[in-house]
Symmetry: C2
Subunit: 566 residues, 2 copies
């Protein structure tokens, strides 16, 4: 009562953060309970469904509010007026009529948003979120189909899946279209809504990370369970290392068999989709991570614009300067072709059940990738000496997007570092050093070097710009293009293979301890995300550093047009 308005706003803002935190902790506990209960099949119980409906329902209501109340195109109001006159019905919307009177005057009073705030995500990131989002929609649609086949499946869980489809699709549209949004309507509602969305995305994220871990655990448990049986069955001519991998494919074939027999030992979705379901899980994990970060940026932007600020239309022009890229692009394509070839070879060896050779192929491809991309990074750093450093303080425009990029890159980096360091530490426990463990050691060392130098490059390149005399040369652009493609190639390789029985299963043998493997493997989605987000950052560098239009360092007369952020 005695508080001033700014103090109250600050307090209520803090409350929305606590609300999101509470929801996140609640969902974490709820999902952990499932994992720790060691349930065979992940049945949704009442609690889950009610919580899920609350999360998705709240998000959908908020999206409805945003699209109808805030974002609606003014011309719809005239249509509504027309309909109202036609049918003589008085709709129960009291606040619409006054604004539709002064329809032609100003759209700003109708749309309580503006698209003038700093960008909350580059084009590449938004395209990525669309790809991941579509994969997620397909996954949930397939769940609906499975539920439809299964007579024991309740209507509530179908409705939950449908809510998830709507949620993912609408949020995808929102992220793609409203990346410069700044809400000037009711701040409180917007803050609660965006925080609810952050919580919903984090919930999805936690859920699928734990689900992946559950799948992994089952897979590993299967190995330890079947182990003596397979050892007896196996021919004596095979080495022990081959056995341990053989039995992975063995067990997976058994799963397939079980599924055919309808014994239901594997969960429905994983049975049908196999490795496809792991790709879909990973996509959902990446999608919800991106969405949570973007929603956090939108939340941060609330209240920065005044209430009465005019409506700024979305920008649509994209301008790309593709000079000095083809050499880097085609080197990157060669890198991609080598990666795909090695994936096919790996797949071929796995099918031939020569799994040790497959593991070698995997390790050598990894080493090839890290060495080559480290060389690319070093070349880029060497060539970019010529560029000018600029003071970040003068360049406030993109700070939000940079914050977003930094948040996402740090998350990925942490995952990547834990994965590599844990792998190295695990290797130190090795008793008998054969050639394969040396190869693994080198792979992990090169991986650490690559990640370190690449993150350094990404950090440095953010704060350099092209000087006027570099206009022709564009130093380092070819290397940046190569690194963009190379990181995409590593991303594809990790997306399709890291979940399969690959090198890490040999590492299981070395490590022995299950919990250790869990620690390492649960960071696998983050390493995939690191690769994806590195590509996003390289695309940003590619666009910003070599922008030929205005930038703070270079003040010629040609700087009439402002740079367009794609």
């Amino acid at each position: 009562n005695s508080l001033g308005p700014s103090a109250r706003t600050s307090l209520l803002t803090a409350c929305t953060v606590f609300y999101a935190l509470f929801l996140t902790i609640f969902s974490l506990v709820l999902e952990l309970a499932h994992l720790l209960n060691d349930e065979e099949s992940r049945k949704l119980n009442k609690k889950d469904i009610i919580f899920g409906l609350y999360m998705y329902g709240g998000s959908l209501v908020f999206f409805f509010y945003m699209y109808i109340v805030l974002l609606l195109n003014p011309r719809w109001y005239s249509t509504m007026d027309y309909l109202r006159k036609m049918f003589g019905v008085c709709l129960t919307r009291p606040k619409v009529s006054p604004s539709s009177d002064s329809l032609s005057s100003a759209a700003a009073t109708v749309r309580k948003v503006t698209h003038s705030s700093p960008s909350a995500g580059s084009l590449f990131l938004r395209l990525g979120s669309v790809v991941f989002g579509v994969t997620g929609v397909v996954y949930y649609a397939f769940l609906v189909f499975l539920c439809d086949l299964d007579p024991t499946c309740s209507g509530l869980s179908i409705s939950l899946d449908i809510c998830a489809i709507l949620f993912i699709f609408i949020q995808m549209h929102f992220i793609f279209c409203n990346w410069k949004l700044s809400i000037t309507g009711s701040h409180m509602v917007a803050r609660i809504g965006t925080m609810h969305l952050v919580a919903a995305n984090l919930w999805t994220w936690i859920r699928y990370v734990l689900m992946e871990e559950g799948v992994m655990e089952k897979e590993i448990r299967e190995v330890f369970k079947h182990r003596p049986v397979v050892l007896n069955q196996s021919h004596s001519s095979e080495s022990s290392a081959e056995n341990s991998m053989e039995l992975f494919s063995e067990s997976s074939r058994k799963d397939e068999h079980d599924m055919k027999m309808g014994q239901g030992s594997c969960q429905a979705v994983e049975c049908f989709l196999g490795s496809l379901s792991e790709i879909m899980f990973t996509s959902i994990v990446e999608y919800s991570l991106i969405a949570a970060a973007v929603m956090y940026i939108v939340w941060r932007n609330i209240g920065r614009q005044d209430h009465g600020s005019t409506y700024v239309k979305r920008k649509h022009q994209i301008r790309v300067d593709c000079s000095k890229t083809t050499t880097g692009l085609f080197l990157g394509l060669a890198f991609l072709a080598v990666t795909f070839t090695s994936m096919v070879v790996y797949y071929g060896f796995t099918m031939m059940h020569r799994s040790e050779k497959a593991a070698y192929v995997y390790a050598f491809t990894d080493m090839f990738q890290y060495v080559l991309s480290t060389i690319g990074v070093l070349t880029a750093i060497y060539q970019m000496r010529a560029l000018k450093y600029f003071n970040k303080k003068t360049h406030i425009q993109n700070s939000d997007q940079e914050l977003l990029d930094q948040i996402l890159l740090s998350i990925g980096l942490v995952g990547e570092l834990i994965y590599s360091v844990a792998g190295l530490v695990g290797l130190t426990g090795e008793k008998a050093w054969n050639s394969f463990s040396f190869i693994l050691l080198f792979v992990h060392i090169f991986r650490l070097i690559q990640v370190g130098t690449q993150t350094f490059l990404l950090h440095v390149a953010r704060s350099v710009r092209m000087g006027g005399d570099d206009r022709e040369a564009q130093p380092g652009k070819q290397a940046i293009t190569f690194l963009l493609t190379a990181n995409l190639a590593i991303f594809f390789m990790n997306l399709f293979e890291s979940e399969k029985a690959g090198v890490s299963e040999v590492i299981i043998e070395y490590y022995g301890k299950r919990s250790w493997v869990f620690l390492v493997r649960s960071f696998s989605p983050l390493t995939i995300f690191y690769r994806f987000h590195s590509s996003v950052c390289f695309a940003e560098i590619w666009k910003n550093v070599y922008a030929s239009k205005t930038h703070p360092v270079h003040n010629t007369a040609t700087s009439t047009a402002t740079p367009i952020n794609i």
Copy 2:
């Protein structure tokens, strides 16, 4: 002797065409011989290898000539000079030294090319050729790997595969970078070289179309062979239609089994890659089709520019106007998500061996796709009434690209029409009309309607432009965006599923005759290509029709910048 220079040029030009025609006919006969011999495994004999080495070798020599003699960047000459002075070696290149003397004066005299001629392929088409090309490279690299494993594989056939990798990759680079190339050097060499490239691409095309047909033939033969056995094995509760599909999966599993047993009844590559190899075959077919058409356009452009014309640099700026697209884009994404979901469901049913249901899913998805995209086409045609027709004569600039688009679209259209009409005619032979044959009938009718209206739209939209008063509305752009995405979705569906045992295997039952099936199925790559190229054409329409800069209809003062062809 008595001929004038223009007559001689014309004669020699005709000779290059005959050269390409002779090579194409020769390769057609060579490849048909393989097919008609009914060989079990497609062994390469001496003739094939010599012919292949000649084709690839000639192409590589021509590319070497192009890159070294015609396209080399002048700064390399100074490097060469430097090296020559350093080592005191006299290189045996007589013609280089004079031009390197006057190095700084003019690059035009050194590079005997210019990038000023009309565009020979849009960005979308070139990106497609890169994707298809990388797939082809991966395929050949895998062949090298297989050959390396196989002790009976000769060194010659490895060298042929390596030549193919180099050929595909270098040609990919050439197509991507030199799409506005016009050769001003020796016309005769350039004409022979480009015609050799056209022939080499047509050879690859013929080879892989026939190879696909061979695979198909074996598959179908397998069905007819195993037929009685499976009928005895099958449970009595299943209907006859289900049997016929069951036995496909049965036979494919048998193949897999055979492969494991090492009986070698299936060819090496198909064994390893399964349905992946069919996607790769299709990619190579599409790639060589695009490459042949582009090379034909390059051939056509030779001699249109004078010898002494100045060197024009490649254009690199890309400008895209993305306004009024999001609704269409997201409708298209929903379409894509539905398509992918149905593919997953189809895959699930196939795995559960409920193949009749899978066939229904496939047919209903087809119908859904054709009906929705027909609605999209009609909407686009209705909305585009508002646009202005312009006289094509005044707009000569893009005629080459339009010719290329027309050639490629016609090839695809012919394939699509033959496929649909043959399907319809085949259905007329049906004796017992059950519900499934009615569905197939509707699918084929809708397919014909969709293809007809879409080709009409593509034809009409090529010759309309936005008038000055449509600047804000951009009528039809949303529909065009939707159609672009929808065609991509149909393309993916056809690429991944058309080769699998799907609806067409039910049609085999109806048709009965093997030769008929061959006729229909060998046009399957062309129908896939039709979908891909429709997307390319829609992207062109999207860019050209709604270009906000200069166009013949609208002559305001803002038309200072020329439209940039991406």
